[in-house]
């Protein structure tokens, strides 16, 4: 089935087929290890983590309430920088969600078995990230309670929405992305909740799990349709990964603001999204595997592969930045040229250079295997990438807007404490949801991992998988 042991021993280390689980793992031991968490009291670390993230989240939510009550004037947005932290945060969080879908859906299509142990967590992160993202378009409008006007419903004003606007395409794209991700995640959870249903003796949890598992009984005829649905959803979700962040990039690229109207924006944004998302996944998984003692399932190999993806994406980002710079010159367009020079030499040039260092230079350290397998280096890179990708959106939005065509409109941008508080609050929301998820649901898709354990599939069917 797999390359035989003798061959493995002969090969240089870099070529050997990695083990996806460390030590003896059986379906039963897997259930015991992973499903014990929802059933028992969480460790103290969880309480501390939850307390911190919930407080930060509450701070953010109160500041959002204050903003809605008082008005957008409490933010730093002002002419000509009409989009600032609000849209930066929106794009940032939508981007982070994309890694989850990639791991969950695209790697499923490629039959990469290493995805099984981390897919569940990654999908959950997608949903939470999209929830965080969705807050921002809602609150950045002057009258959020009229947000339902964005949907084309028949109304007394006899008006329809403007379908030619990318802001409306965003509404459809992000809501579709959320629904599809939620459905994909929930369907994946059903067999695992069935396991939890059959393990628990708790009188309150058992009926809850029964209802949530929909009465799943593991029938082969059901698995057949289930696997088909999963494959189709993976294919559809893959299309979404490309399209959602492309639609987000259209918000900028269809405009005429110099530095925004670049055709490379769609794939550039998608690449950046995957890049930032993987960094966040690495950070969260490092913590999870340590605190929940899952190192035998979320192995060093998993982390190393994810770091390689981060490295690859960093190189693609480098290509994109190069193309932006080259085109700024090649176009011989004085506005585009000036906008680019502003990025690297203007008032906010520090943000521009921070972006390039964090996104292109620092991740290059991952060429070294030692960095890919060391917590210190990989976390350093992951945090640099998170910061760098946030600042990249800052550069795109604020730097281009504060100095565009009309010099008399040029003006600096300064965020307020409310802006910063809401940004922090969004992180608080995200991590609170992550903590809740880890407390209540299985963080590893036990069903999927069981299916790839050695001996899990009948042997006479033949065939190793990749």
């Amino acid at each position: 089935m797999k390359a035989d042991a003798a061959l493995q021993r002969e090969l240089p280390e870099v070529l050997r087929t990695p083990e996806l689980t460390v030590g003896p793992v059986t379906p039963g031991s897997l259930d015991d290890q992973v499903l014990k968490f929802p059933a028992q009291k969480p460790p103290r670390a969880w309480y501390i983590g939850f307390a911190i993230s919930a407080s930060v989240m509450t701070l953010g939510l109160s500041l959002i309430g204050y903003t809605i009550f008082t008005g957008i004037g409490v933010w730093g947005n002002n002419s000509p920088v009409f989009w600032a932290f609000d849209i930066i945060n929106f794009v940032f969080w939508v981007g982070i969600g994309h890694a989850g879908t990639l791991i969950s859906a695209i790697l499923f299509l490629f039959r990469k078995r290493w995805r099984n142990a981390i897919a569940r967590f990654a999908e959950a992160m997608t949903i939470f990230a999209v929830m965080c993202a969705g807050i921002f378009p809602l609150i950045h409008v002057g009258r959020p309670w009229l947000a339902f006007w964005l949907f084309p419903y028949p109304n007394q004003r006899a008006l329809w929405t403007n379908f030619r606007s990318p802001l409306l395409w965003d509404v459809f794209a992000v809501s579709t992305y959320f629904s599809v991700s939620a459905m994909f995640w929930f369907l994946g959870l059903v067999p695992d909740i069935a396991s939890m249903r059959d393990r628990t003796k708790n009188k309150i949890l058992k009926p809850i799990y029964t209802v949530l598992s929909l009465g799943w009984r593991g029938a082969a005829s059901h698995w057949q349709h289930y696997e088909k649905a999963y494959l189709l959803l993976a294919g559809l979700a893959t299309g979404l990964v490309l399209s959602v962040h492309s639609v987000v990039s259209f918000d900028f690229a269809v405009s005429l603001v110099p530095g925004w109207h670049m055709t490379i924006f769609p794939p550039y944004f998608v690449t950046g999204a995957i890049f930032a998302g993987f960094a966040m996944v690495v950070i969260v998984l490092v913590v999870v595997r340590e605190v929940m003692d899952l190192k035998n399932l979320i192995t060093d190999y998993h982390l190393e592969v994810m770091n390689k993806v981060i490295l690859g994406m960093s190189c693609l980002m480098g290509y994109s930045y190069f193309m932006e710079g080259f085109t700024a010159w090649y176009s011989m367009n004085e506005y585009l040229h000036s906008s680019f020079m502003n990025l690297i030499t203007g008032t906010y040039a520090w943000a521009g250079w921070l972006t390039i260092s964090c996104n292109v230079l620092i991740p290059q350290i991952l060429w070294f295997k030692k960095a890919r397998t060391s917590y210190f280096w990989m976390l350093l890179v992951a945090m640099a990438v998170t910061v760098g990708m946030w600042f990249e959106r800052f550069c795109i939005i604020v730097i281009s807007l504060h100095k565009d065509y009309l010099p008399s409109s040029w003006h600096l941008y300064k965020p307020t404490l409310v802006d910063l508080g809401i940004l922090l609050g969004s992180f608080g929301l995200f991590f609170t949801l992550v903590m809740l998820f880890a407390r209540v649901l299985p963080v590893i898709a036990t069903t999927e991992v069981k299916a790839i354990l050695p001996g899990g599939q009948p042997t006479h069917q033949g065939g190793g998988h990749e």
């Binding site: 070529l15 490309l242 109207h261 794939p267 932006e324 011989m332 069917q461 033949g462």
Partner: protein
Amino acid sequence: MSDARKSSGPVLWVTLLLGLLGVGASYALAGAERFWANWILWFVYLLTISLGALFIVALEHLVGARWSVVLRRVPERLSTMLLMLVPVALVALGAVLVIYPGARPEAAQNKILAGKAFWLSFPFFSSRTVLFLVLWLIGLAVLVRGSLKQDESKDPAFNVRARRFAPLFMAFFAFGVTMVAFDWISGLEPEWYSDIFGVYLFAGSFLSGLAATALAIVYLQRRGRLQGVKRDHLYNVGGFMFAFTVFWSYIAFAQYMLMWYGDMPEEIFWYQERIQGPWLALVGLIVLLNFIIPFFALIPRDVKGDTGRLRWVAGLMLAGHLLDLYWLIFPSLGKGVLLSWPELSFALFFGSAALLWVRRAMEVGQDMPVGDPFLQEGLEFRL
């Protein structure tokens, strides 16, 4: 040598000669611009196929794919066409001073071109082309020649070397394809620019490489060779063709939609030239061959693993890619849709040359990389 091969060889030499006569005649009779446009078209077409094939090889090493080892020799052989393209490229440089406005003396008067005339000038243009040709040939040497050598030596050190070299090759490839797109194609109208153009050409190149690989696999299997490649492997190849058809369509649409939306005179003129009159019909054909047919034909699970249908789709995709390049290049001449004996001669000439080369290449080395330690795993791959 099979009978089929014995009979097709002489035919191809005849068509090659006929084509060569037509090519020579078109230089004298059809005008230099038309001659060069055709030359560039076929140069870029065959280049993107060879580079696409080499990219497939490098990608397999980069990600350490095991299922694809069984068919890796096919794109390796296809990529050797790069060697044939070196003289083609050097001849193509003759076009620079004829149909590339940036290199011509008038550029100094043009407000937009004057600032970058040095970049577009012949010395710089040709050095870039030569530089990347050298880098690609290095890639060919490391990846393909090394693989062929491994047939005998059976030394896994090649895999390690290839794996380490693959990322570097990706840089050569990424910037190289971008150079081809900007210099050879959009350089025909150097006032225009689109920074996704390199990605667009990459998508077409990868797809053509895949389609050519699929066709070559079917060709070999129909001759009783390459029996190690099963439906399961072909399913993956078909799957990639489907996925990247979607990707190519997305890139093509994104570029068009963004320029349509902005409607800026300095950008939209390029599209306006390409949707006037008869060109619009060609656009419809390109959409049909590059998106509609492959998309709907490759969705059913059966087709992806079925050699019969797969070769039709692959063939149509290759034709579609040629038409796409034609649509990118020829409108720059401003002479309407040119389709007559010069174009047919070039097709005969270059088509025959490519087929002859590929036929010969299919005899190089073993059909599968027998020295690769992961060949067995690849053979055992089942979905």
